[in-house]
């Protein structure tokens, strides 16, 4: 539902003038203080934890503050496949979600403009997956894609699928789950920009004898760039950090574990807090670099 974050902030008109007043401090202070205490300070804790070394005579899970930067070397060496897999899966899922969502958002935002009721009904259907538990809808796919499910058995009976085809536990299933779960994050920002698309630009292109494909490529796509940028970020960031879809109890298997699974296992099961912290810092840094480069390249800095 984060789409609101990216779509509304760009449309808000600036008020006539902003006053300077001590009231501002009073309004800001509690919330900002809260974020400093429970967002910034935890990031600092995470950074400090990532350099911790095992306590000399301590049990498992006991660490003391140090500057053991080798933690980073160790986790990258140990979990390189998981790190690459996370960004690879997230990238593929983002591209698939974009390809899936663009025509859908185009129809709802452009073609259905004449029927506002139909438009809002379709939008409700797009966000409907949000209303059912994330974990349950992922499990539903697990059951539908399992070898015994009626979908798979009937496809196999019809010879539309190889008899030894197998989905759950494969990268295919994980990427499928990531794509499905984050489609609404892609469709909604696309819809908000396409809904405001001025059709006269398209008409102008047609009048100048541009082929429909060129009109799409040179007019529609550039004008919907803010939606594409917001949608891809809103899909990519949670997908790269997700560990539900890749979990063994859900759509994944032993060979599909992502960085989130490793962070969870190290933190909550193995109690190797420095490793989990180092992996979190790596994940966050890579995402921040990708986000800032991508936003600069796409030329939509005001989006943030």
């Amino acid at each position: 539902m984060a789409f609101a974050a990216f779509s509304t902030s760009t449309t808000a008109p600036e008020p006539a003038q902003r006053r300077k007043s001590p009231v501002a401090l009073l309004l800001l202070l509690p919330g900002i203080l809260y974020l400093v205490l429970f967002f910034l300070a935890p990031l600092v804790s995470l950074l400090l934890t990532s350099f911790q070394a095992p306590s000399e005579f301590g049990d498992v899970g006991q660490y003391s503050y140090a500057f053991r930067w080798e933690n980073y070397v160790d986790v990258v060496a140990a979990y390189w496949p998981h790190i690459m897999r996370s960004f690879g899966y997230a990238l593929i899922a983002t591209v698939l979600a974009l390809v899936f969502s663009y025509p859908l958002a185009y129809f709802i935002g452009v073609k259905a403009r004449a029927w506002p009721l139909l438009q809002s009904l379709m939008l409700v259907l797009v966000i409907a997956p949000f209303f059912i538990s994330f974990l349950l809808r992922t499990l539903a796919w697990k059951q539908l894609l399992s070898d015994e499910s009626f979908v798979i058995t009937s496809l196999k009976a019809l010879s539309l699928l190889a008899p030894d085809a197998h989905f759950t536990g494969t990268p295919f299933a994980v990427i499928f789950g990531l794509t499905y779960n984050f489609i609404p994050f892609m469709t909604l920002p696309l819809y908000t920009t396409l809904e405001r698309l001025d059709l006269r630009y398209l008409e102008a292109g047609n009048d100048l004898y541009a082929r429909p494909f060129d009109v799409f490529r040179k007019i529609t796509v550039p004008l919907s760039m803010p939606g594409i940028v917001a949608g891809t970020l809103l899909t990519f960031i949670p997908a790269a950090g997700d560990y539900i879809n890749a979990s063994r109890d859900f759509l994944g298997g032993p060979d599909t574990q992502m960085i989130g699974n490793v962070i969870e296992a190290n933190f909550l099961v193995l109690q190797n807090f420095p490793a989990a912290a180092a992996l979190s810092i790596i994940l966050m840094s890579v995402i921040l670099v990708i986000v800032s480069v991508y936003v600069k390249r796409a030329g939509t800095e005001e989006l943030l």
Partner: protein, 268 residues
């Protein structure tokens, strides 16, 4: 022939795409009527039992987890909506130093993967020796909801006509009267939308909760923990009921907005 096919391709695709999006929802709903035993994987026949006895003894923990989720959601929503609305008003109405730093601080939690937010808070609670329970979950949920409240309410504050408040002041309304009688009622739709969004985010959150919940079980955590040995159909009942409830709220909001727009269009 070719022309009509092209014309129907996009609507047809949209229809199929929307059906695809509904598949797991329909599945979850249908299996809430399954006469299942312990796990709910194969279809064993239709029954209303699970709906009528959601909180029966052996599965009472589903309802307990659900109750925890509601409680956490309500408290975190009230806290985040209050803090976030105040920030939103300050951002739109006032000039102050460190504005860009403030915006960055508000944007970052939304750009940070949940697993990092969860692990960070857990690392902080660990180093401070804070035991993880209901309270730490509420602290965590409030944190990630604030930014979403700010962006939702900010748009509403920005679209507010300052002339309305000036009129209130001209008529000798005190600052608190102007706020209570004019500003707040006009902001209310935005605040309500932000509160609903917060509640939805909190209610469905699993990743951050998992890192900061200790022994407390929320509804998503219950599903995660039982996923290995099979989810009881009662979980499907609760999820389906929540789904229907949320759908009713959203559809009502849409219909009333459409009606209001129609009325306004008639007046002008």
């Amino acid at each position: 022939m070719k022309l009509s096919l092209g014309k129907w391709l996009l609507p047809l695709y949209t229809l199929l795409a929307l059906i695809f999006l509904m598949v797991p929802i329909v599945y979850t709903f249908v299996f809430s009527f399954n006469d299942s035993l312990k796990s709910n994987i194969t279809w064993r026949g239709f029954t209303f039992d699970k709906w009528l006895n959601v909180c029966q003894v052996q599965n009472g923990s589903v309802c307990e987890a659900f109750g925890n989720s509601i409680l956490i959601g309500v408290v975190a929503t009230v806290a985040a909506t209050t803090l976030g609305t105040m920030i939103a008003i300050a951002l739109v109405r006032y000039r102050f130093r460190f504005r860009s730093q403030t915006s960055l601080l508000l944007f970052l939690p939304m750009a940070t993967p949940e697993v990092v937010l969860g692990a960070g808070l857990a690392a902080q609670f660990l180093s401070l020796g804070v035991p993880k329970d209901m309270f730490t979950i509420i602290l965590a949920h409030t944190m990630f909801c604030i930014s979403f409240v700010v962006v939702t309410v900010k748009a509403r504050v920005a679209s507010l006509d300052p002339a309305l408040e000036e009129a209130g002041r001209d008529l000798y309304g005190s600052a608190s009267q102007v706020f209570a009688r004019i500003t707040f009622p006009l902001l209310l739709p935005g605040i309500l939308a932000a509160a609903l969004l917060s509640f939805a985010l909190s209610f469905d959150d699993f990743i951050i909760t998992n890192f900061n919940s200790g022994a407390v079980t929320t509804f998503p955590k219950y599903i995660y923990v039982s996923a290995a040995r099979g989810i009881p159909a009662e979980a499907n009942v609760i999820a389906s009921a929540v789904f229907i409830f949320a759908l009713v709220i959203v559809v009502t909001a849409q219909v009333s907005r459409a009606a209001r727009e129609k009325r306004l269009a008639k007046q002008s």
